[in-house]
């Protein structure tokens, strides 16, 4: 018996993709996570551009997490040109990242994944059942966008980020005016955690190798070394030797693997498992209140981890808003040289790595970008392969599709951001 399942268009993910599974005699013969996101050649476009253009260009990789791309690229370029950024720039970048976490996580929690957990199609339907929650969720999401706007001019592709700092200090009054909304946001974030804890998650666990950045003093987002649940800890410079992109037989997709050859998992669940200790009291308390103890191995519960991260970033943002008092130049001056540098930050959906070869003329010679979804790709397929037999053969087709889609969505895959994340249909005969 041949049973093919095809989900031609994945909904509620960022970007567009499809899933194709072929089975024979109750066995999975092929799983194809088909990304029909066209190749966009960003690394190619970057060659020959001026370094100061990079954050504007890389932002365009993804409209949902442009800040992640901007931050990783400016970090890599600052490394290359040996730029020391000021503490104030450092803080403002952390604040900007908090803003992106808020808008992106709220989007994923309420608009992309919650509909699955509540058996609805979209937030629009949730609004019909629970208008109050939805209104609050939208307000909280807006907080993130408002802060991004205050810092960067607009929330999608903000314009204020540059190598060395910011083009201009954001208006202090504008930043401070958000304080009360963020106080409300912190409380609502805690509500979200409690609400998330009550949801019914599919029973599905995998022993993942989690990989995330880690910082001794903070719950790492903007800054840190790369650590793994295997115990491996490397500096950013060593990232490419520890985590490789290689070609999988019979596929053209670049799959990320650890140097030991394992698939790994980046994203909120990885960060939560690896950096639980660095969470600030507000987040830790609410995590303990709901009994969400590490380690967690249920990918669906990434939603809970996300919700706790929202508490964390609101908490951090409040502190940074309160202490915001910019002095001096908003950016560092520096000399250009032939060099190379890399940078890592944590995008809302996982670790992101950039490396640039630059010239004394300021032009980019080579660019390499490893986005989170590409790194999770191998793990996603493994998880799908594991889930498929559980759902495909004893459930109605539609329900099975939904279950597989849900698993995929819980990863918060950002397909448009997968710069060279591509798998082509490869028929076996």
């Amino acid at each position: 018996m041949t049973n093919n399942i095809s989900i031609p268009a994945l909904a509620r993910v960022e970007g567009e993709g499809a899933l194709y599974i072929r089975t024979k005699d109750n066995k999975i013969e092929e799983i194809e996570l088909n990304i029909y996101e066209p190749p966009r050649f960003f690394e190619g476009f970057l060659q020959g551009r001026y370094f100061q253009e990079v954050p504007d260009i890389t932002a365009r990789i993804c409209g949902i997490c442009p800040v992640a791309y901007q931050m990783s690229s400016v970090k890599a370029l600052e490394k290359a040109y040996s730029v020391e950024i000021s503490q104030e720039v450092y803080n403002l970048r952390r604040l900007m990242y908090c803003a992106e976490y808020i808008e992106s996580h709220l989007l994923h929690i309420y608009m992309l994944q919650a509909p699955d957990l509540l058996g609805t199609d979209s937030i629009i339907e949730i609004a019909a059942i629970a208008p109050d929650v939805v209104k609050k969720a939208l307000r909280s999401k807006k907080n993130g966008n408002d802060l991004l706007k205050a810092i960067g001019g607009r929330s999608v592709h903000p314009v204020n980020t540059r190598v060395g700092g910011f083009y201009r200090w954001p208006d202090t009054e504008k930043i401070k005016s958000l304080f009360e909304d963020f106080k409300w946001g912190l409380e609502f974030a805690k509500e979200t955690v409690r609400w998330a804890a009550e949801l019914d998650y599919p029973d599905f666990e995998t022993e993942y190798e989690f990989v995330a950045t880690s910082h001794p003093d903070f719950y790492a987002i903007y800054d840190g070394d790369v650590v793994s649940s295997s115990g491996k800890r490397v500096t950013v410079d060593q990232f490419e030797t520890a985590y490789l992109e290689s070609q999988v037989p019979q596929s053209t997709a670049l799959h990320s693997h650890t140097s030991e050859g394992n698939s790994y998992f980046v994203g909120p669940l990885a960060r939560y498992n690896l950096n639980f200790d660095q969470l600030r009291p507000a987040a830790k308390e609410v995590a303990k209140e709901i009994g969400f103890e590490v380690p967690v191995h249920n990918p669906y519960q990434g939603l809970i981890a996300r919700s706790i991260e929202v508490v964390e970033v609101y908490d951090v943002a409040l502190e940074l808003i309160e202490s915001y008092n910019p002095q001096g130049s908003a950016y560092a001056e520096f000399d250009l040289k032939d060099s190379e540098g890399c940078g890592v930050t944590e995008a809302p959906r996982g670790l992101i790595y950039h490396r640039y070869k630059v010239g004394k003329d300021g032009l980019i010679k080579e660019a390499k970008i490893t986005p989170p979804t590409a790194q999770n790709y191998a793990q996603m397929e493994l998880d799908l392969a594991k889930l498929a037999p559980q759902v495909l053969f004893d459930r109605p087709h539609e329900e099975a599709s939904l279950a597989l889609e849900h698993l995929l969505r819980s990863y918060d895959p950002c397909i448009s951001c997968s710069t060279h994340f591509l798998k082509l249909k490869h028929e076996h005969v």
Binding site: V13, P38, F41, H157, Y167
Partner: protein
């Protein structure tokens, strides 16, 4: 009156323009009350077949599959609106149009031969009739909202087309070109962003595309005179709206002239 059925389609893009709809936090619930969202993959897994009263199209056409899809969408849409600079002018993908075919793929992919894409990433209007174009990388979500409201009110949307300069002045933003000698393409760029870059102390980089009747012949010598690095003028114009005809032709002429020298 029946609610208009709206579809949102994605082509080669970053998702940022359709995200503009989800980012209308204050208006979203009223909006979905006024229209029927019939197809919007990023927002809902409810997928309804066409025909649609309005299709909002994000992204440029860059693969054979997209080429077929845009024609299908046109057939099942009453009105087709391109949202954002990708759909309207090719967007960042169209930077590949300025390179030799295949060159980029080789530099990025190990097996470029497996890629299935068109040599050119092109605006939607190159393939099908477009009823309304909304510019911006990303679109201004309020322009998007205005377009939808205008649709509900059966009128033309208010989408001003003057240059960014006018908005800088209305915002009391100081001209970075005059006061600081920073290259800025605002004088030839379509308004819509709210003149963000000069407000942030930097020059406009033209993400809303050329203003109608933009005078690039007059602009280019001025930009050349204040370049911060050689070739900046080309970079500024060959950017997210670089494939828009006015910018494209201006750069072509410029490069041709400099190659003569």
């Amino acid at each position: 009156m029946r609610k208009p059925r709206i579809a949102v389609h994605k082509f080669s893009s970053c998702d940022g323009c359709q995200l503009g709809i989800l980012n209308l936090e204050d208006e979203l619930l009223d909006l979905v009350g006024a229209v029927e969202i019939a197809y919007f993959l990023e927002a809902t897994s409810k997928i309804q077949p066409g025909p649609y009263d309005v299709s909002l199209v994000e992204g440029s056409v860059s693969t054979p599959h997209e080429l077929k899809r845009i024609k299908d969408i046109r057939k099942e849409s009453g009105m087709l609106i391109t949202i954002g600079t990708c759909a309207t002018a090719g967007g960042i993908q169209a930077l590949r149009n300025f390179t030799e075919p295949g060159q980029l793929a080789e530099s990025v992919y190990d097996h470029p031969d497996y890629l299935d894409y068109l040599d050119l990433a092109t605006p939607v209007s190159q393939h099908v009739k477009v009823d309304l174009e909304i510019w911006g990388c990303p679109v201004n979500k309020y322009q998007l909202l205005e377009a939808i409201i205008a649709l509900l009110q059966q009128r033309k949307p208010n989408l001003p087309s003057h240059s960014v300069c006018l908005d800088c002045k209305r915002n009391s933003t100081v001209c970075v070109m005059v006061a600081r000698g920073i290259p800025c393409v605002g004088p030839v760029t379509r308004t819509g962003c709210g003149a963000l870059c000069p407000a942030n102390g930097r020059g406009c980089y033209g993400c809303f595309g050329p203003a109608p009747q933009a005078d690039l012949d007059a602009m280019i010598p001025l930009l050349n005179a204040v370049e911060e690095y050689p070739g900046q003028t080309v970079h500024l114009l060959r950017n997210f709206a670089g494939y828009a005809p006015d910018f494209r032709k201006a750069v072509d002429v410029m490069l041709e002239e400099s190659s003569k020298k």
